[in-house]
């Protein structure tokens, strides 16, 4: 890392372990739900506090590092809270708190079975996600990436219906195959370059490799992390995984798991290959093509889904590729936009999933054409839904606008008008598939929802908080979490330009 200095600290490790440590406690409190949920909330709060304590040093270019022990010749199990890691860890751990409250309302509202398994797996997933965020080298990254794969599986099949089990199989088939490709790519990288360490701006060793080697390796890496990032055609597991309970879809399939995928894309592009290598071999352009095609196709496919969660899933597929696009532009504003979209899409999509879950628990509806008039019964929920969908379409002042604005600027910097066009069309398509839902909810009438009111406070409060956060981050992108400053620093480090 160029001008970053590291100092030894156990905080990154503790931040990872705190939720793993809560797993046995959750397991032991199976018969006392209130105590069990207390452990979850305690772990979530402690985790967020630990991550937050890493923020000042990350902003000051001081990086906390936990170097554990060697796990392979020349490779240590190392955790490093660099700005990018802290950026992602903040999002995941912050939204876990909201999701935990929401989960309690959700699973109790539905009287779900296997609640202990649910909360325990959730805690393990968050440990793995933070491990992915703080991994200082590729091997550490892959270890946590695979733990995340396995820890998510019990949540995908949670309902244990044939549909959920089929989704679980599909999920494992995609992610385990990707894991294998990733391991192969990693082994080849270690042999060819002699190191697996992430470094802002990439490893110079890649520039000495032959074009074929670089291209094949990059293809393997992109396939390896691209499954979780749902880059088409590797996205098919995500809509299927909507069989999971809604809080799982909200946090894992909009934030933790899929964002680990795009996080991996940025790590590989910016911290392994580096913009110079990507530019020289035309690989940034490959990312633009893949990302652009995914955005447009996924947005079109979203129209065809009448199931609310599946429509949201296709929307997620599209929005994940905004990040891929941002990384592929190789321009400062483009990367800032892509990074901001990791955070912004997270806060907006989690609102939408929270709403879908509230509707499901409270009104037992999953289909969009059954939602006529629900806005009158659940005004807060559907209001938040409307706000977040505006944001995803890129309407100011919601935070989706900010990331799109920077992406657009980045596209101009890179001189790629096609990307600007894709962003505009995608905004229209987003508006096109979200508007009918909002229209039905508020402007159509039906007698379906006369007898029901708003969902329970456990669910409504988190979703309103997330919606408020989306709006605030749109007005003040640097608010509290300093997402904007972090993104700016990461972009500057990766592209090796001085911060204005």
């Amino acid at each position: 890392m160029n001008d970053l200095s590291t100092f030894p600290s156990a905080v990154p490790l503790l931040a990872i372990l705190v939720s793993a440590a809560s797993v046995p406690l959750i397991g032991m409190s199976a018969r006392r739900p209130n105590l069990r949920e207390f452990w979850t909330l305690l772990a979530a709060g402690a985790k967020f506090a630990l991550v937050l304590s890493l923020l000042p040093s990350a902003l000051a270019d001081q990086v906390a590092e936990t170097r554990l022990f060697q796990i392979s010749p020349g490779v240590d199990l190392t955790l490093r809270a660099d700005p990018f890691g802290v950026f992602f860890a903040l999002i995941a751990s912050g939204l876990w708190i909201l999701t935990s409250f929401y989960s309690i309302g959700y699973v109790r509202g539905l009287k779900e079975k296997h609640q202990t398994r649910y909360f325990a797996s959730f805690a393990l997933c968050l440990s793995a996600t933070l491990g992915v965020a703080f991994a200082a080298n590729l091997l550490t990254f892959v270890i946590f990436f695979e733990v995340l794969t396995i820890a998510t599986y019990p949540l995908v099949i949670h309902k244990q219906s044939p549909e959920a089990i089929a989704a679980g199989r599909k999920y494992l088939a995609f992610t385990l195959t990707a894991g294998v490709v990733l391991v192969a790519a990693m082994a080849a990288t270690l042999q060819l370059t002699g190191t697996l360490e992430f470094q802002a701006g990439g490893l110079s060793a890649f520039q000495d490799l032959s074009p074929v080697e670089v291209k094949v390796l990059f293809g393997m890496f992109l396939a390896g992390v691209g499954v979780k990032a749902a880059i088409m055609p590797l996205h098919a597991w995500l809509p299927a995984a909507m069989a999971a309970p809604t809080p799982v879809s909200a946090l894992l399939h909009a934030v933790a798991v899929v964002k680990s995928g795009v996080f991996g894309v940025v790590r590989v592009a910016g911290f392994l290959f580096g913009p110079e290598t990507l530019g020289r071999f035309g690989l940034g352009e490959v990312m633009l093509w893949l990302g652009g095609a995914t955005i447009l196709l996924a947005s079109c496919l979203a129209f065809a889904e009448d199931n609310l969660k599946r429509r949201l899933a296709y929307s997620t597929v599209g929005h994940l590729s905004y990040v891929v696009l941002g990384a592929g532009l190789l321009s400062p504003s483009g990367l800032i936009g892509g990074l901001l979209h990791i955070a912004n899409h997270a806060t907006m999509k989690i609102v939408l999933f929270f709403c879908a879950g509230a509707i499901y628990v409270h009104a037992h509806k999953e289909k969009i054409n059954e939602l006529d008039g629900i806005g009158r019964a659940m005004p807060w929920t559907m209001g938040a839904f409307a706000l977040a969908s505006l944001g995803l379409a890129g309407v100011p002042p919601v935070n989706g606008f900010v990331s799109k604005w920077y992406l657009g600027q980045g596209a101009m910097e890179a001189g790629s008008l096609a990307v600007v066009a894709i962003l505009l069309i995608s905004g229209l398509l987003n508006a096109g598939y979200f508007a009918p839902i909002v229209y039905r909810a508020f402007f159509k009438r039906s007698d379906n929802f006369n007898s029901i009111g708003e969902a329970s406070a456990w669910m409504v409060v988190p979703l309103i908080l997330a919606a408020a956060l989306s709006a605030l981050l749109g007005l003040m992108p640097d608010l509290f979490f300093h997402f904007f400053t972090l993104a700016q620093r990461i972009s500057a480090q990766v592209l090796e330009v001085s911060i204005p």
Binding site: F69, Q70, I71, S72, P73, L77, K113, H114, V142, I143, E146, V147, T149, I150, I157, Q160, S161, P162, I165, G168, R169, L172, L176, T177, G179, V180, V181, V183, A184, A187, A188, L190, Q191
Partner: protein, 502 residues
């Protein structure tokens, strides 16, 4: 005094009680188990001290009867031998603790011969590991093989037939090996390994020497079930008693792999042999075939122990692949996989034993989701074992495959890299089949009935007793711990074993 005799002590610790048990057992059958357990427990500290001593101050040599090599027989404890001796003693100790109840359920009237044969088998294994003489190795190989035939015969109705097949094919294998030694003895005039390593480079151009090596490798291949010489294994492992298969499956083929390493890398010089006959690459290609064949056959099995037996063929393929690559990383991966597979297979076969004892069968088709509630700990151990077999980090199985993949890439063996990784995915399919069946209420084609939602249904616990559960869980825990400790092992121990020629 102890230090000088170290190579002899572990085989003796098994051999003497093995002979005592039948004598005492006539009067007191109940004494057989404590005696066997005492022997194994005593051997662990000796083996541990041996490994420590060898790592600290180099190999220990013992000459039998004071006759100096190459005339006399020499026992040598080097890093490889002492490490594997420790693995054998520790795994067999855990299996033996587990076996007490299994043996009393599956063959209550044959406990005395069972424990005697087990100790004889282990004496053979440890003898093979510590000998420095090719012919002496043959003797120990026959001791362990004969004990093995006897053990396989103590099993279900089909086991005498399996044992007979195993006897015939095993004897063919040892016969090949003996024939090979004959060729080499005629040409070199020596049977001492260290002596041969000095002589062989000068006479390697003799066709008879190469023919001898090929005969030996063929014989060893049969003993370690190297594809396509594996056909005795599935029957022998699946019809033997659970207590036997849990002992033979993790250790038997590993000792075969050890002989291959000893002959190919320490007696002969692999690079020099490779110039004259492509034996290492032949082993690698056959092993690659074995990985795919074993995994595909495992996929088709309906009986858990048979599935695990075919899985063993695939896993031996991984070891063979690492050896066939003939580079330090591949070698490291192979040795690490010997350790890891011994632990994984032991854990999985112990779970199979738990199932046999508690349910009376280990038929995959008859398992359902109630099992995960009836035997939660056994099934958790099975899941950990399965994750390790698939090779998912941070379990031990990932790291041996990681070294194998690194070795494959170092030597540009792209096909082998693909096979290693593909094998992992096939493992995922056939283990997942079992895990899904055990944890999820789902029958293909049948709708989800009320019982599917689990919760309300009350299932009584049928978990195995503590003496069976504890070894299973220790092995499963070791898989998690060893994954993270693998680098330590490689740097401190396995690093010392890599032959100088690589």
């Amino acid at each position: 005094m102890i230090e000088a005799n170290l190579p002899l002590l572990v085989p003796l610790a098994f051999l003497i009680p093995a002979l005592l048990i039948p004598l005492i057992g006539v009067r007191a059958p109940g004494a057989a188990y404590p005696l066997a357990l005492a022997a194994v427990l005593a051997s662990i500290p000796i083996a541990g001290f041996g490994l420590f001593r060898v790592i600290e101050s180099g190999p220990v040599t013992y000459t039998l009867g004071g006759w100096e090599a190459p005339i006399g027989i020499e026992l040598v404890l080097d890093p490889l031998a002492s490490f594997l001796t420790l693995v054998v003693t520790v795994v067999s100790c855990l299996v033996l603790i587990h076996a007490r109840h299994v043996a009393s359920v599956e063959h209550p009237d044959k406990r005395v011969p069972y424990y005697s044969l087990v100790l004889l088998l282990l004496a053979g294994f440890c003898g093979i590991l510590s000998t420095g003489d090719l012919f002496n190795l043959y003797v120990f190989l026959e001791i362990s093989s004969l004990a093995g035939y006897g053990l396989v015969a103590i099993g279900d109705k089909r086991s005498p037939v399996s044992a007979y097949r195993y006897l015939i094919l095993g004897s063919v294998g040892t016969g090949f090996y003996l024939l090979g030694i004959g060729f080499i003895y005629v040409m070199s005039g020596s049977l001492n390994m260290a002596d041969l390593a000095r002589i062989l480079p000068h006479i390697l151009d003799q066709p008879a020497v190469l023919a001898g090596l090929i005969l030996m490798v063929t014989g060893i291949g049969l003993k370690m079930a190297l594809f396509p010489l594996h056909f005795w294994l599935p029957d022998a492992y699946s019809s033997a008693s659970s207590a036997t298969s849990a002992l033979l499956a993790p250790l038997g083929t590993k000792v075969g792999a050890y002989i291959l390493i000893r002959v190919l890398f320490f007696v002969f010089d692999p690079a020099a042999v490779e110039q004259r006959a492509p034996i290492a690459s032949a082993i690698a290609w056959l092993s690659a075939g074995g990985v795919l064949y074993g995994s595909l056959m495992a996929l088709a099995q309906q009986e858990l122990k048979r599935m695990l037996a075919y899985s063993s063929i695939a896993q031996i393929g991984y070891i063979g692949l690492g050896l066939g690559m003939a580079n330090p990383l591949g070698f490291t991966g192979a040795v690490l996989h010997i350790l890891n597979h011994a632990l994984m297979k032991a854990a999985l076969f112990l779970v199979a034993g738990n199932l046999r004892v508690q349910l009376g069968h280990s038929n995959i088709a008859a398992m359902d989701h109630r099992l995960s509630r009836q035997m939660p700990w056994s099934m958790a151990a099975f899941t950990v074992g399965a994750l390790s077999m698939i090779g998912l980090p941070p379990t031990a199985g990932f790291f041996s495959k990681w070294y194998l993949v690194l070795g494959g890439i170092q030597g540009s063996y792209w096909v082998f890299v693909a096979v290693i990784l593909m094998g992992g995915l096939l493992n995922a399919v056939y283990f997942f089949r079992v895990v899904e069946r055990v944890y999820l209420p789902f029958r293909r084609g049948l709708p989800d009935n009320g019982a599917a939602n689990g919760g309300a249904e009350v299932v009584e616990s049928r978990e195995a007793r503590f003496s069976m559960l504890a070894p299973t869980l220790i092995l499963a825990g070791a898989l998690l711990a060893l994954g993270l400790a693998s680098s330590f092992l490689v740097n401190r121990v396995i690093h010392l074993m890599v032959p100088a020629g690589l």
